[in-house]
Symmetry: C2
Subunit: 116 residues, 2 copies
Amino acid sequence: MLFMKLAIVVRKDLGMSCGKIAGQVGHASVMAYRMASGTHESDQWYNEGQKKIVLKTENGESLAIIASNAERNCIQVNYIRDFGLTQIEPNTLTCIAIGPDSDEKIDSIVGGLKLL
Amino acid sequence: MLFMKLAIVVRKDLGMSCGKIAGQVGHASVMAYRMASGTHESDQWYNEGQKKIVLKTENGESLAIIASNAERNCIQVNYIRDFGLTQIEPNTLTCIAIGPDSDEKIDSIVGGLKLL
């Protein structure tokens, strides 16, 4: 049996506080769940307890490369941009959600990244 | 017009890493969205850009008091417990989601708390 997970990759170059990061990861999680809603992957992921991993990358450029890899492998990517009301410039890409999809597919994209 | 928001209150006594906290806030956000799904509050909150605030409290006891205040005021509360696979004991209450509901109702419960 395949197990499902959601990976969220956060940029570390923006100097966001822990609370700010947590809020962005919250946005990413809801977007990923909503966009995948009704699919087998989403239902299974939710029923398994919505497993998540939160990872980090250096900057926006490396984040874009990771997103592009995921999209080429037909894995759902959601891009989270901040309104910029607090801490950072408007419309800055802060993190991406990859999945939910099978452990194996997610690991093939983010396997080399470190936990936040 | 009323604006909607979701408040997530995190316990600070568990020594969770920033990545761990972010994952718990992700769980809380999806639970709150799903449990309120189809309600006026949830739709409006999502369409306004899913405004979130992430706050902190000292420990499980103070978290329980905040949750109880919200429930007495008929505001949706979702309780996030960790499976305990990493960092903390199984079934530990890590955070709560309050709302989504109107700014005014949410502030009446969490107005005294500090941002994480």
